[in-house]
Amino acid sequence: MKSLAEPKKWERYFWPILVSALFLALWHYSVIWTATRIFPSPLDVERGMAELLRENVLWGDIADSLRRVAIGFGAAVVLGIPLGLTFGWYPPVNQVVNPTMQILRPISPIAWIPVSIIFFGVGDDAAIFLIFLGAFFPIVVACVDGVSNVPSVSRRAGRNFGLAPWQLLAKVVFPAALPQIIVGLRIALGIAWLVVVAAEMIAVESGLGYLIIDSRNSGKRYDLVVAAMLLIGLIGLTLDLGFRRLERIKSVRWGFRNES
């Protein structure tokens, strides 16, 4: 149902922009009123951002962070989807595996940092492993749930047309579970983006997480710290928006309630 007070087009942009402006103003005047010497004002941050862009290190850091997420998340997708579908498809397998998974799942990837450094040493691989861990469990769980929620009517209809079990999985169960799987992937990507920053603060010497730590350690450049934080937010938002576009694909749109 559309509410009667449907916002006008200009209002859809006006109010969010106003709130952002108020936030910046609050930030700006707080810095002035408290006369802090450490915390940067929005203008400092803007100058810091410009400096980062001029020095050309920024693009390398962004690329490194994105690359790690791509590899870690990609590995989680490639492994997690087939495993999740299998577990969902064979409930007895799921019953055996599920308790172990439920214990591993709530462990924050951050808690794995020491272990991953033992496994992989300090370096890219350790960071990627942490991202993988963060993304893997939500993907598996989404697949298991997605498969077990496929209505029995759909399964029966598939069997009725003479599909072999693997065809049933590919042509009925997977597409029926896909909306839920996509939701899981989106959550997993968000987590991957959270984890990469943390991992880069400890295990590697490049990336946006490293940029934050490095800016602080080498001369307390909090303008650069906050600039990097904002960038992380913006890139995370972009990734999420990009992923949401998948929900518009016609063959999955039926699974998202607010789309008709």
Binding site: R156, A157, R159, N160, K171, A176, R253
Partner: protein, 259 residues
């Protein structure tokens, strides 16, 4: 004055022999079907009629091979039913269409073994038959309930089955669409002469459609009576014979139709 319609005159398509079904759940066993025996002739249109929850869907699912009887046997063309088979398609209430496939994709779903040209020819034919031209690329959420139901019937017909099992297919439609759909189903049945087993709890629907109405009792279901509907199509639903048959079934079920 039993009408002279003998299903024995045609070949027997389906034979249900002393079928019992007992569901065991939570250590409690519920008998649902009690010694059901029934014969259906080739090309016949039979309605299973009974109150909600009496076991009609259970019986139909068993005929279609999705459930196996606790005891007794179901034979189709003389062979025991061992599982679902593309030669006999089960049509669910519109929920059976696949929302991730277009109208074309749904109709073509069971045709994966055919060469492409033949598949496309059949899809086009059945799109036309159920009046969905112009909606070939549309996804089910954008179709009305009646269109989805026609789509599901088209998907079933496209694989050219010799039997259709319909489980209250028009139950979720508004009463006008339901009447139109009954007409269309009869038109299709007269053109293609499939054997149709149609489940309903609507007495009028049963008497409008069926050659024979199988009246079932409340759970555990037994067959109370089998009524031959000896009125040719198109049926005049205000004719004395129609009213007589309908009222007979009302009485049989124990309902006087006065509110």
């Amino acid at each position: 004055m039993e009408p002279f319609v003998t299903p024995a005159a045609v070949d027997t398509k389906l034979r249900v022999e002393h079928v019992n079904i007992v569901f065991d759940r939570d250590g409690k066993s519920t008998p649902v079907l009690n010694d059901i025996s029934l014969e259906v002739g080739d090309g016949e249109f039979v309605c299973l009629l009974g109150p909600s929850g009496c076991g009609k869907s259970t019986l139909l699912s068993t005929m279609a091979g999705f459930l196996s009887p606790t005891s007794g046997e179901i034979k189709i063309d003389g062979e025991a039913v061992r599982g679902p088979d593309p030669r006999r398609i089960f049509v669910f209430q519109e929920r059976g269409v696949f929302p991730w496939l277009t109208v074309e994709g749904n109709i073509g779903f069971g045709l994966f073994k055919l060469p492409r040209a033949e598949r496309e020819r059949r899809i086009a034919y059945y799109v036309k038959m159920v009046g969905l031209e112009g909606f070939e690329r549309t996804y089910p959420p954008e179709l009305s309930g009646g269109m989805k139901q026609r789509l599901e019937v088209a998907r079933a017909l496209a694989v050219n089955p010799d039997m259709l099992f319909l489980d209250e297919p028009f139950g979720a439609l508004d009463s006008i669409t339901r009447l139109i759909m009954r007409g269309e189903l009869l038109r299709i049945w007269e053109a293609e002469r499939k054997t149709v087993i149609f489940v309903t709890h609507d007495i009028d629907e049963a008497v409008q459609l069926a050659d024979r109405v199988v009246v079932m009792s409340a759970r555990p279901a037994t067959i109370q009576q089998i009524v031959n509907i000896d009125i040719p199509h198109p049926r005049d639903i205000s004719s004395p014979r129609y009213l007589e048959l309908r009222d007979g079934i009302f009485k049989q079920i124990g309902l006087a139709h006065k509110l």
